[in-house]
């Protein structure tokens, strides 16, 4: 792997940029692997990377039906935070956030992790209660969290409208200063490059068409690029998690919806933090390129289409302009949809399945991006040891049988 640095840019620049190498090798799959990861998004690539890095398992393939990062990794609003309410969630996401903090160096790839702070707004007395509860819970878990009253919100984010006359005035917000955003594509590329460098095969345009199970064990995978024998697979796909699991005869409690997002035309820096409002459905930050990145609400009908309805987009614009009236003349440049798998308690499912050798990591709903490195870390551990990582254990599939749910729904923790 050619090491990236200012020096490499300089030397390559002087010699005509002829020496750059592919960031990752895109190859056709071999006929056998120790572990096959299905899904070449951030989570799948991170899993492969940590399998190789932490567990020395390098005979690994990542199968991606399109191009890497083409699913929700390249479609989300890139918010990274760990201020979840419940212990199980906040510890998993905090582990992830700590990995984010060193990720660019770890991968030798600038994933542009930008700790610009995330505000979660409260617009009602109930949201104040919920927010403070979350702040206190975060503090006990040593996760940085602050409660800001509306004046402090205005100080932190000068362009926000804290007027008492607005339809749902901002009564305060929680702030996590260590939270922020990252460059989503770079996360997929960076993990792919680092994994590829450690010997992982990355197979693009390779769609899984079937899973062969014998005696309740995985034996092989059928793909559009041939059959692959393996004893362990990790299903790490968003949007089609239940479809893949069904190929192994596993029925998962997942519902799939379209979630839309949009960006504005690029403008000069105006918004220096991430602002999220659950009540009025606005999640907004400004990318380094200058576009405002805005998350819309979820389309309520179930769908596998990566296209949503216009009413969702236009409907939330009033709310956005209520928070930021000065944005009215900015122009929407691009909208898109991703498909998200939502579990009954809105928390992910990570770990073993009833079929031996089939591991599942999905159901991240609308907020999986922030977990990318942490998810890969604990899932790799689980696959390597045939035993759940302690942070992943509470998220195992059997929680739905046992009834020990991890329900963040009511806690006003916006899922993005």
């Amino acid at each position: 792997m050619k090491k990236f640095s200012a020096l490499s840019i300089l030397t390559e620049g002087l010699s005509g940029n002829k020496g750059w190498k592919p960031h990752w090798q895109s190859v056709d799959p071999k006929s056998q692997y120790e572990v096959v990861i299905i899904g070449g998004g951030g989570h799948g690539l991170a899993t492969a990377y940590y399998l190789a890095k932490n567990h020395n398992i390098t005979n690994v393939a990542v199968l991606e039906k399109n191009w890497i990062g083409s699913g929700n990794t390249g479609r989300n609003t890139t918010i990274v935070r760990s201020n979840y309410l419940l212990n199980e969630s906040s510890r998993l996401y905090e582990h992830s956030l700590k990995l984010w903090e060193g990720l660019s160096k770890e991968l030798n790839y600038n994933v542009m992790f930008s700790q610009r702070g995330v505000l979660n707004l409260a617009h009602s007395l109930q949201e104040i209660r919920d927010s403070k509860r979350r702040v206190f819970a975060n503090k006990l878990n040593k996760i940085d969290a602050e409660w800001l009253d509306s004046n402090s919100v205005k100080k932190y984010c000068k362009i926000i409208n804290t007027s008492k006359d607005s339809r749902y005035p901002i009564l305060g917000a929680t702030l996590q200063r260590r939270a922020g955003t990252a460059r989503h594509d770079a996360v997929a590329w960076g993990f792919a490059r680092a994994a590829s460098n450690l010997g992982v095969d990355i197979c693009e345009n390779c769609e899984v068409t079937g899973l062969q199970i014998e005696k309740n064990k995985i034996v092989s995978i059928n793909t559009t690029k041939g059959n692959i024998n393996t004893k362990k697979i990790g299903i790490v796909v968003a949007g089609h998690g239940s479809v893949l699991a069904r190929m192994a005869g596993i029925k998962l409690p997942l519902e799939t919806h379209t979630l839309q997002a949009l960006v504005s035309e690029p403008i000069k820096p105006i918004l220096d933090c991430v602002v999220m409002s659950n009540a009025v459905h606005v999640y907004v930050s400004q990318s380094d390129k200058g576009e405002l990145v805005i998350g819309a609400g979820i389309d309520s009908t179930n769908s596998y289409q990566q296209r949503g309805n216009f009413s969702i987009i236009s409907g939330q614009m009033g709310s956005l302009l209520e928070l930021f009236p000065i944005f009215s003349k900015l122009k929407m440049l691009r909208t898109w949809g991703g498909i998200v798998d939502v579990s009954p308690d809105a928390s992910p499912i990570i770990g073993e399945t009833p079929v031996k050798g089939v591991f599942f990591n999905g159901g991240w709903g609308t907020g999986g991006f922030k977990a990318t490195p942490g998810s890969g870390w604990v899932f790799a551990h689980t696959i390597a040891n045939n035993f759940p990582h302690k942070l992943a254990d509470p998220f195992s599939l059997n929680r739905f049988y046992k009834g020990k749910l991890i329900d963040e729904h009511g806690a006003a923790a916006v899922a993005h």
Binding site: A6, W67, L140, I159, S264, E265, K289, K331, G403
Partner: protein, 991 residues
């Protein structure tokens, strides 16, 4: 240069405008672009990355270069596309991305560093130090990126929305669209036509074609509704199309800026044409270089010539029409550089016959002129010989790419068409067809024919017969030579860095090559890595060219590649018009109760509860919130209070299976509920968690009135309907929301009976005749009301349901009747305190969707005689021992913050116990519970709190001390008590 032969501008109306502070003039009807060009201004902008001089490049939405800031006051607009925006009096146009001035720009040295700033350079560096990234590199990158400054003032423009239904929507009013309308217009179908331009057909040059177009439009008359200046930008499922209409400054009384059109069409005809694409060559970005067709557009529409000495660079015949048009209008044509060796089409021959020099088999190998093109270098493909030609305007045409965006937005298939070297719609989407140059027809006559056939086809779809077969014999079919695929001129590595594919993002051939070297070969990856096609023009000109270059690099035919996904919107659309009038108070409807005016008169402070405005408390003059609540609370406890409870959800349940429904959804058994009796019940979700609560009254046989919490009213109704409509379809039950049919006034307190009886002395209100949890239909002050004996305060209470219009009348009657007892209106805050004193939970405040009935201390409401929603989940293995308890602080005056977490004494080290931060130094702390409600209780003169605690049931009334987290990291000591703080025996409810 203007040669005044156009009717799209009004040359009698001179308009003064400013460009970078200097004053210029133009005419009404001019765009910013035509105004600048007519004033001889070609160098208008700097590019985003290398700050290279740029100018207007095209004439429409494909424009990559000339984005401006307009004005600086409240009419400021960012990123204004010069080719789309009309000029107006006093308009102040400012260049972006240049400092200190357009001519002398500090960052123009960056072009010298292009070798070090190749695609994706920022992924390879800047990550050595988190501190430097955060405080230096990232802020600097952000500052360099982005176009205009963001607005800093509130938008004064107005926007609106219009919903339109039609039989046929024709997108595009060019020859093919108009021809389709001609087939359709006699059918009485409602036909809507939309065109992006203000003068569709303006690019037609041949007099007979122009005449046909004008006459046909006349013939259509008012049978067809035409929206010009209107761009369809989105195509959604079931023929739902979204368009934005730019409202003309003239006759615009409402000061509307733009209007959103939301169109539902039975059939859609896409006739939205194609977009000219350039050919890439070294230094192809200089001011004075234009798309070829733009020369015709500016000339025909504004009477503006783009130069005096023209050169055309082309790979197709169509561009010859432009050059011939220029020649006809007196321009000097230096030469046509045609990459093709053999030209057998009619137009090149005509050009040659008219004395135009054509260099066949030649390409442009470089251009010169620092701030405006002066000359070019041409090279023969055959023998590599080069020489220079001078010009002041260079036109480029690489063929036409069909505008497949709207078709593709819906997931429509596309395929590569070798005749036009571009992608066209393959299979049409249901109830849609595509016609004209969108499907690769490029001559006038082919387009008209395609339009007529398309119109006839749609006519047939509607069941009409009789096709239109127009006579097109007056138009001579001319022979067009073949377009050859030619995307970019081969050059050396140095000049590849100056060969711009995406002018807006400064993506060069060199960037795409580096991306290829680094493994970014899928067009989607190339786009994301090099930013090609990511600009405000969304790759309208650059997309297909980059595909051509990638195809060559990876040695795969272009037809095997897929263009990057086309996404809505086709053109950028302001947030303002998307929101329309749904801003400020209309961003979400406000619901007010029938008594709103009464509350205002009493100076109530309101609280948002869902969409409702509810009185929070009623301060008297100079009274603070705490004082008001103190007074309101004691009045209810000691005398009588009055509350507007109208927002409570109310659902009428009727039908012979009503009881079955109630038993299925409520955890407790409703079978033995008698007529006129009321029962409290809990609703669970499938996961066994409490979803809502409320009372249900049996009004008569098979008629029940269910109440829900205010915030869940709609959710509960939806929930019940979902079950009835999807799972229990055999049940004979009808649900009707009656929330705003009945206003609700609660009269509560020991004196409430006295107050109510004054409104009808004839009825007996004592507990024997009208017991707790029963209902009576009663005439109060002449109004038929429903009175329910329910209590949420623990005091004797009557909930009076009054027909909505009579609510104020009864409210005033009750205030009069209660005046001798000092009847006190109380708001939601007092209601909350009073119920907390009684330990009644509020669903949604004390519960959060993760609390089951047992944890809430309501296990006794779980029937074991019947099944109910959520029952199965409650039988699962995991049982938590968290429990709903009361918290009584050791210091009676300390109020625990709501949301506080509870830490157990055992876990707290003996020292440091008063401060959370100190405790956390050595690791995290396990939470034992949390506070959901917390108040100061005036009647108890003590702070009280409710919440959940692990093993809470066993801790009640023990001496164990717990610590609650305070707002300033202090820890508040508390004991655990029963949640019922006041009147534990429940004696007060009967007065």
């Amino acid at each position: 240069m203007r040669i005044n032969n156009s009717n799209s501008i009004d040359s009698s109306k001179v308009i003064k405008f400013y460009f970078n502070g200097k004053i210029y003039t133009a005419f009404e009807g001019d765009t910013i672009a035509s105004s600048l060009i007519s004033n001889g201004i070609f160098f208008t902008s700097r590019s985003i990355k290398y700050h290279r001089p740029r100018g207007v490049y095209s004439h429409s939405f494909e424009e990559p270069n000339s984005l401006f800031e307009v004005n600086s006051d409240e009419t400021y607009e960012p990123n204004v596309l010069s080719t789309r925006e009309n000029i107006y009096e006093g308009m102040k146009i400012k260049t972006i991305n240049s400092w200190p001035s357009l001519n002398y720009d500090f960052f123009s040295f960056l072009t010298l560093l292009s070798n070090f700033l190749k695609a994706g350079f920022y992924y390879k560096t800047f990550f050595g130090s988190n501190y430097l990234w955060k405080n230096f590199f990232e802020p600097f990158l952000r500052k360099m990126a982005g176009f205009s400054k963001a607005p800093n003032k509130i938008d004064k423009f107005k926007y609106s929305k219009k919903h339109i239904k039609c039989d046929v929507l024709i997108v595009g009013c060019g020859p093919s669209g108009i021809a389709a309308a001609l087939s359709l217009y006699k059918s009485n179908l409602k036909i809507l036509m939309v065109d992006d331009d203000s003068s569709p057909g303006i690019k037609l040059n041949e007099p007979n074609e122009k005449e046909w177009f004008i006459n046909t439009k006349k013939e259509l008359g008012d049978k067809v509704e035409i929206y010009t200046n209107t761009t369809v930008f989105g195509a959604y499922a079931d023929n739902y199309l979204t368009a934005v209409e730019r409202i003309n400054e003239k006759n615009n009384r409402n000061k509307l800026k733009t209007r959103l059109l939301l169109i539902r069409a039975k059939k859609v005809i896409f006739a939205n044409g194609s977009i000219e694409r350039p050919i890439v060559f070294p230094n192809n970005d200089r001011p004075g270089i234009f798309l070829s067709h733009s020369s015709t557009y500016y000339l025909n529409k504004f009477g503006v010539l783009l130069g005096k000495k023209f050169i055309l660079f082309t790979n197709n015949d169509f561009a010859y029409a432009d050059i011939l048009n220029l020649q006809k209008n007196g321009s000097e044509i230096i030469a046509v550089i045609d990459v093709r060796q053999n030209l057998d089409g009619y137009l090149p021959k005509l050009a040659e016959a008219k004395g135009i020099k054509i260099l066949k088999g030649f390409v442009i190998s470089n251009t010169f002129g620092k701030k405006k093109i002066k000359s070019i270098s041409v090279t023969s493909l055959a023998n590599n010989r080069s020489y220079n030609l001078s010009c002041d305007c260079l036109l480029v045409s690489g063929g036409f790419s069909p505008s497949i965006h709207l078709h593709s937005q819906q997931g429509g298939d596309i395929s590569y068409n070798h005749d036009i070297c571009g992608f066209i719609p393959d299979k049409f989407i249901n109830h849609q067809i595509c016609i004209g140059s969108l499907v690769g027809k490029n001559s006038f006559i082919d387009c008209v024919e395609s339009g007529i056939n398309g119109g006839n086809y749609i006519l047939n779809e509607f069941g009409f017969k009789g096709y239109l077969k127009p006579d097109l014999s007056e138009f001579k079919a001319i022979k067009y030579g073949k377009v050859i695929p030619f995307w970019a001129v081969d050059t050396n590595a140095k000049l590849e860095s100056k060969s711009f594919v995406d002018l807006q993002n400064d993506t060069t051939i060199a960037d795409i090559k580096v991306a290829n070297l680094e493994g970014f070969r899928n067009p989607e990856h190339v786009k994301r890595y090099t930013l090609n096609g990511f600009g405000t023009d969304q790759g309208k000109t650059s997309g297909i060219i980059s595909l051509g270059i990638i195809s060559k690099e990876i040695n795969q035919p272009i037809e095997k590649l897929k263009p990057t996904t086309y996404r809505s919107p086709f053109i950028p659309v302001t947030f303002g018009v998307l929101a329309g009038r749904q801003i400020r108070e209309l961003s979400d409807p406000i619901r007010r109760t029938a008594l709103n005016k009464c509350h205002e008169k009493l100076s109530a402070v309101f609280e948002n509860v869902g969409q409702w405005k509810r009185p929070w408390f009623y301060p008297k003059v100079n009274e603070k919130i705490d004082q008001a609540i103190f007074r309101e609370c004691l009045s209810v406890r000691n005398s009588v209070g009055i509350l507007d409870a109208s927002t409570l959800g109310k659902i009428m349940i009727s039908g012979k299976d009503s009881l079955t429904l109630l038993n299925k959804v409520y955890t407790n058994n409703f079978s033995n509920l008698g007529i006129g009796k009321i029962k409290y019940g809990l609703l669970l979700k499938e996961d066994g968690m409490v979803f809502d609560d409320g009372t249900t009254t049996k009004l008569s046989e098979n008629r029940y009135l269910m109440t829900t919490t205010t915030s869940n009213a709609a959710l509960v109704l939806d929930w019940l309907e979902e079950w009835l409509q999807t799972e229990w379809t055999n049940l004979d039950v009808f649900l009707t929301s009656v929330t705003d049919h009945w206003a609700v006034i609660t009269v509560s307190g020991p004196k409430s009976r006295h107050v109510i009886s004054k409104l009808n002395p004839s009825i007996s209100l004592d507990s024997e005749d009208f017991p707790f949890m029963s209902y009576r239909q009663v005439n109060l002050a002449g109004i038929a009301c429903r009175v329910f004996r329910i209590s949420f305060t623990g005091e004797l209470s009557y909930e009076i349901n009054i027909p909505w219009p009579n609510a104020t009348y009864i409210w005033n009657k009750l205030l009069d009747a209660g005046s001798e007892y000092n009847i006190t209106p109380y708001g939601t805050e007092t209601m909350h305190v009073l119920r907390a004193e009684k330990g009644y939970p509020i669903i949604g405040q004390d519960t959060d969707g993760t609390i089951n009935p047992i944890e809430l201390g309501m296990g006794k409401l779980l029937s074991n005689k019947k099944d109910f929603l959520g029952k199965r989940s409650l039988s699962r293995e995991f049982k938590s021992d968290k429990y709903f308890v009361g918290f009584k602080t050791i210091d009676p005056n300390l109020i625990i913050p709501e949301g506080a977490q509870i830490i157990s004494l055992d876990r707290v080290l003996n020292n440091d116990k008063e401060n959370l931060d100190n405790l956390l130094i050595n690791g995290s702390l396990e939470s034992e519970g949390y506070i959901t409600s917390s108040y100061f209780s005036p009647i108890l003169d003590h702070s009280i709190a409710l919440g959940f605690l692990n093993s809470g049931k066993e801790k009640i009334n023990t001496d164990e001390i717990f610590y609650a987290t305070g707002d300033n990291n202090e820890l508040i000591r508390t004991k655990i008590v029963s949640p019922v703080f006041y009147d534990e025996k429940g004696l007060r409810k009967d007065g």
